[in-house]
Amino acid sequence: MELLEIKNLCKKFESKEVLTDVNITIPKGKIVGLLGKNGAGKSTLIKIINDLLTKTSGEVLVNGKEIGVESKKVISYLPERTYLNKQMKVSEVVSFFEDFYEDFNSKKAKKLLKDLDLNINQKLSKMSKGMQEKVQLVLVMSRNADLYILDEPLGGVDPATRDYILDTILSNFSEGASVIISTHLISDIERILDEIVFIDKGRVVLQSDADKLRTKENASIDEIFRRMFKC
């Protein structure tokens, strides 16, 4: 059984089709890059997997089951926006995750927060957007999930911090788990990818093993992407 299976997925907003017949399979233990230009449909796809959007047709299965309480127990999701209640302190948010996610490791979260110089007693409303995003990343990576879905984790972050974020992701996801990273900053994440999914205008245009594709095309993923989606 595959970790994530998406079959013939379509999504329409009124008459506008934003995802068309999407078929993707994600096995266990892979880091997958969901790559596409802005507005290609990456976030829509991720939102459907996380029950934040309803699908128009098709099927999304996690460990063979439809999206629901069971899938949410094994998916750790980092959205592209700050989503925590800003009235809460960091320590309260850690307790919140501990209360709701059985696989949450609070010791690991506290250690990562300390490493990042984030004050656990500080209110989120007193933190900068960047600091809040770091808190969210720590919370998401402190779960022992089967599937991590990271939507634009590098968006709006300086290059030095990008490396730090990627290292945090690489050194903290649980063994045997898969990671889906959605981004258009391909050169930054290329080095860590096992598989790539190119998405354009709501359609999957390519799904391939990253190394095989590099060898076949004799170019980096970034170059291949630039060639394919040249304006």
């Binding site: 009124e14 996380n50 029950d51 959007l53 309803t54 949410k72 999701y77 925590l84 709701f100």
Partner: protein, 263 residues
């Protein structure tokens, strides 16, 4: 999981409402203290202002609870926070029930705080006798007691508040299913839901009246009110309110269970 959700929802509300409860008690105490301070023109003026603020706070506690509950419901289920709410391993029914229970509990708490404020600010033997005397006059010849009237008043008031609350939740759930103008549509659906339920209540009582001449007489110009009919009407209204609230609750949860489309 409902317990855990409720714990965080209650924490959120108490953090936001405690300041208004404290202000209400403070101004009630201030009004009482000013009552002992004499009767100069300046003091009477200050007392009048304090009394005005106090009355504003009595209204605020209920209105504020309703509005905050609706906003919390919307923010938690459809705004940025929804990215966390809907990815928690809990059912949509639990999410909904937690918000509804939290709002109900805070309406009850608000009412208790208001009663406490009224007692602190205005209680005296003569005031109490006046209130009881007025209710007795109203109940004269109605074959009922002050206590029964008081309980009926409280229960109907709460059912009306819960109905308003539920209509607002239903409006938000329906409004946020649309792709555009979500807020305006939520307000519109909430208002329509509320108006519809009030009309339905009246219609159902009228239909019952077709089979009960005492109740039907109350729709006419009869001056003398039948005590038995009034009691029956009060209990019927309560029953119908409960059914309407339950119906709207089931509908809201059914729509929510179909899924959300967050921005």
């Amino acid at each position: 999981m409902l317990k855990k959700l409720l714990k965080y929802d209650l924490k959120y509300m108490i953090k936001n409402m405690i300041v208004f409860y404290a202000l209400l008690i403070f101004f009630a105490l201030l009004y009482r203290v000013l009552g002992y301070a004499g009767s100069s023109v300046i003091l009477s003026f200050v007392k009048g202002i304090v009394n005005g603020i106090l009355i504003g706070l009595f209204i605020n506690v209920i209105i504020n609870t309703l509005i905050r509950s609706w906003l919390r419901f919307r923010d938690s289920l459809y705004k940025d926070e929804s990215y966390l709410t809907h990815t928690l391993p809990v059912t949509k029914n639990d999410l909904y029930n937690s918000k509804f229970l939290e709002a109900m509990l805070f309406l009850l708490l608000g009412f208790i705080i208001i009663l406490l404020g009224l007692f602190i600010a205005y209680y005296s033997k003569s005031n109490w006798d006046f209130v009881v005397g007025t209710i007795k006059k109203l109940t004269y010849g109605l074959d009922t007691s002050v206590l029964e009237i008081f309980i009926c008043f409280i229960v109907v008031t709460f059912l009306e508040l819960f109905n308003t609350l539920q209509a607002g939740f239903l409006g938000i759930v329906l409004g946020y299913r649309k792709n555009n103008n979500k807020l305006i549509l939520s307000v519109m659906f909430g208002f329509l839901g509320y108006t519809f339920t009030q009309g339905l209540l009246l219609l159902l009582i009228y239909i019952i009246g077709l089979f009960n001449s005492s109740i039907m007489a109350m729709f006419g110009n009869q001056v003398q009110v039948d005590g038995g009919a009034l009691r029956l009407l009060a209990y019927l209204s309560m029953g119908i309110y409960v059914l309407i609230i339950a119906g709207m609750n089931i509908l809201s949860r059914k729509v929510l269970n179909k899924g959300v489309n967050v921005e």
